[in-house]
Amino acid sequence: MTADLFEDDVDLAALAEDLQSDDPQRRRVSVLALSDSGDPEASKLLLSVVRDPDPGVRRQVALGLGTFGGPGDAEGLVALLRDADPGVSQAAAEGLCEIKDADAAPVLVAGLTDASPFVRASLLRGLKELRSALALGPALQALQDEDTEVRIQAVGVIGYLKREDAVPALQAAARDPDPHVRRTAISALGFSRLAGGVATLVRGLADNAWSVREAAAEALGYTKVEGFDPAPLVAALDDAFWQVRLKAVRSLAQLGVREAAPHIARNLDHPEPNLRKEAANGLGHLAHPDTRDILNQAATDPDADVRKNARWALSRLGAA
């Protein structure tokens, strides 16, 4: 009586038989049931059909793998990543990102010599999360890849490892012809305590792509290098893009560069309220007496968040 009260223990033998059916739709339904079972034996059955003639069946296998854990999942997904059908390979790529099992790293590294840039990029994306030292060498090599997405993912792998000995490689990537690669590399340098890394970030402030300049302005806020000259960050307060100025304000406040306060204050007149809000907040952190008048004006700003931050900044000035 109680047998059907719970999600059933699946009949693996029957499902295995269905996997051999001539009807691809029946095979697909079998794959669905196997994926839901969570039974390790079902995992082996799924791996047996990664070469099914029907792409729909293969896609279902790609979606189902990952349910079970263990290196079997990774092997199956790598095989499906190479599938000619984009629906299948895309599903496999997504599945690879969900694997957190470090044992899978060698399987992924082994695939990196693949001729397809899609396969290489997807493997690197999967490797990133595993944070495996095994991936460092191949990732450094992949920085030279002709494919942009592969280079972006390679930077990602290196960035996640947070190793100072890889900083020169990230510095090189920050000179990549593609702005996405440069942006990723700049952001990945945020952890570095080395002067060379910081010099690269400063150069990033002059990049011709605003998103790279924004990333550089943000990353500099975390720099811990002694004797860092904030002048380029102060100059970024006049950037053509408010997004860059906003990050410069935040970083200068984080670094406690008090002499930047009057420059920051000029942004309280900017038409973009997000920037005015950040400026008021930054002035609160720096608490520079010369900014009292302009903060008093900002306390009547039409934007509530700007007013609130200005009031807070004034209270900090009062306390100082």
């Binding site: 694997i99 930077v155 947070k162 906003l246």
Partner: protein
């Protein structure tokens, strides 16, 4: 065979820990109970299917309250939650959540749930609030349920789908003894005896009626009809601060979340018709909703979500998240209307009322071990009283409940159940199926919820509340004596209608009891417009005594994280400054 034909039948099983509700807190509770004691028998029961049930059915686009080392401290978080709840907080459960939630984030990360990370692989926490940084986006949050389901499968948990629990059973010694459930497709009964039960049945999100008139077009998952609140009530558990309603900002007509929290870190914000921000308070709270409501009613309304000042690539990034994760039909809604985030602001509104501790504070009263006031009965997630807990709170408190419940179960035997009580309940459940003619459940539900909108929606007017109580009593008579369910599916809706009516009655009773205003819009009374700390610095508890609804006061536990006077003052000053605006609104309404 006719659709969802009713079948006679009753099964009985027993277990150590029974988890009711397979959304967010429930799966985590079951998983943790099983992990802590692999020999224990743990059953997870769900009215829908665990694969895609609960508030996060489709996914979640971010954590709103992640306390991550280096970005916020547990003490700082407890202070903010205390202030945002006007001080009516038992801090211990909040502190416990804050201390344990980071380990849950790490575990969810290992499950394969994707959180936004920096290029160095650290969690990319965003600062939205004035003080701490608590927001962690989940750009691929559509995989939450899938990842969770995989873990349940790996642990080979006993999952029973399509069973709706209707009532809890207690032993003669007052301990929890089990639950009665009914199959939503056949009407067959399942009696489950259990040493401990964890209620994880979600918000009461089908309480108010969306303006579209569409019963299921609610802000919350419409399956969250407050069944857990009703069951806890009938079992004699106390329910805390139910007058602290949930009201949310949303996209008008679509009635789904606006996700300003997601778009905020990118530079988007909630603006009035002049394009300016107007919200002055820091943490999501009733105060924030009052500011929202005030602006809506003023000449500066309506309220909009503003993104059109952002860079094209930034907007694309936001659209990617908002239209794929959590409520993806939102993209379809905008598409149909031709709304372009680049060109125009998106009209927002506020939601119908509900109970949900996930966003406010109304829930079954629990302590720091997720224990309710009934021995052996636990509660977690949106229906338990830990305030502002959101999805991460459901996971974390579910974990706490699961671990404690399985330990408790190991030390007790099954309590006896009363066969007569079981018979009575089965008769109550099946009553709507025994009639030839009668009122469809959806009309009982519509009427209840229409009355909720007419009379209970804040600002709260006592005379309206009394009228509501009279009308609810009339509807209750109709429900008990005239409701008709022709098949198992209609029976499911009939039972939900009964939960909804119970919640409506509790909302009215709790609101009338607290004769002051508190929590901004959530409990804004027209006759007692001010906060009164002298008489009302306390919880209110709704309960059932001798078959009648009662409301009582309960002291707030002494704070474990002191709130400095200047912190309080800062907040109170904000309040005072806005008092004029609020007063103007009251006159206007």
């Amino acid at each position: 065979m006719a659709l969802d034909q009713l079948i006679d039948g009753t099964s009985e099983i027993s277990c150590d820990v029974l988890v009711l509700g397979g959304g967010t807190a429930g799966p985590m509770a079951a998983l943790k109970a099983k992990q802590k004691n692999p020999k224990s028998k743990v059953i997870l029961l769900e009215k829908a299917n665990v694969k895609r049930s609960g508030a996060i059915s489709m996914g979640m686009d971010g954590l709103n309250n992640a306390v991550i080392p280096g970005h916020a401290t547990p003490e700082q978080y407890v202070r903010e939650i205390t202030i945002a709840n006007d001080g009516i907080v038992d801090q211990k459960p909040v502190l416990k959540y804050a201390e344990r939630c980071y380990s849950v984030i790490e575990e969810l990360d290992r499950f394969g749930i994707k959180f936004q990370k920096t290029e160095n692989g650290d969690f990319a926490v965003k600062k939205v609030h004035h003080l701490g940084a608590y927001v962690l986006p989940m750009p691929n949050g559509d995989t939450v349920k899938k990842a969770l389901y995989r873990q349940l499968k790996r642990a080979q948990l006993l999952i029973s789908n399509r069973y709706m629990a209707t009532r809890l059973l207690k032993g003669s010694d007052g301990r929890i003894a089990g639950a009665i459930a009914v199959n939503t497709r056949t009407g067959q009964f399942l009696i489950i005896r259990a040493k401990a039960i964890i209620l994880c049945m979600g918000a009461a999100g089908r309480l108010g009626l969306p303006a579209s008139g569409y019963l299921f077009g609610t802000y919350e998952n419409a399956a969250n009809s407050g069944d857990g609140y009703a069951m806890a009530y009938h079992a004699g558990a106390k329910l805390a601060n139910l007058e602290c309603f949930q009201i949310n900002p949303l996209i008008k007509d679509y009635n789904g979340p606006a996700c300003a929290y997601v778009a905020g870190p990118f530079g988007a914000y909630t603006a009035n018709n002049e394009g300016n921000r107007f919200i002055d308070c820091d943490y999501w709270s009733g105060q924030m909703m009052l500011e929202f409501y005030t602006e809506l009613q003023s000449g500066k309304g309506p309220v909009f979500l503003k993104l059109n000042h952002l860079h094209d690539s930034t907007i694309s990034e936001i659209e990617d998240i908002l239209h794929k994760v959590e409520r993806p039909s939102r993209g379809k809604f905008h598409e149909q209307r031709g709304t372009d985030y680049r060109a125009e602001m998106i009209e927002m509104h506020i939601s119908e009322i509900g109970f949900c501790s996930g966003h406010s504070a109304s829930g079954v009263f629990v302590d720091e071990f997720a224990r309710t006031t009934v021995e052996g009965l636990y509660a977690a997630g949106d229906m338990a009283s830990v305030p502002h807990s959101y999805m991460l709170g459901a996971f974390t408190n579910g974990m706490i409940a699961g671990e404690h419940a399985v330990e408790y179960a190991a030390g007790v035997s099954l309590a006896d159940i009363d066969a007569e009580e079981v018979t009575r309940e089965c008769e109550r459940v099946l009553a709507p199926t025994k009639r030839e003619r009668g009122i469809p459940p959806n009309q009982i539900e519509y009427k209840t919820r229409r009355l909720v909108n007419d009379y209970l929606q804040p600002p709260k007017v006592p005379r309206k509340y009394q009228l509501a109580q009279q009308r609810f009593a009339e509807v209750r008579e109709d429900l008990e004596q005239g409701m008709l369910a022709r098949n198992a599916h209609e029976l499911l809706r009939a039972l939900e209608a009964s939960s909804i009516l119970d919640c409506a009655d509790m909302a009215a009773a709790a609101s009338l009891f607290r004769t002051e205003s508190r929590w901004g819009l959530y409990h804004l009374r027209t006759d007692y417009t001010d906060r009164n700390d002298a008489d009302w610095f306390c919880h209110t508890l709704v309960g059932k005594t001798d078959g009648r609804m009662t409301v009582e006061k309960r002291e707030v536990q002494p704070y474990v994280v002191p709130i400095a006077d200047d912190e309080k003052d800062l907040y109170y000053r904000q309040r005072t400054r806005q008092a004029d605006d609020v007063a103007a609104t009251r006159i206007a309404t």
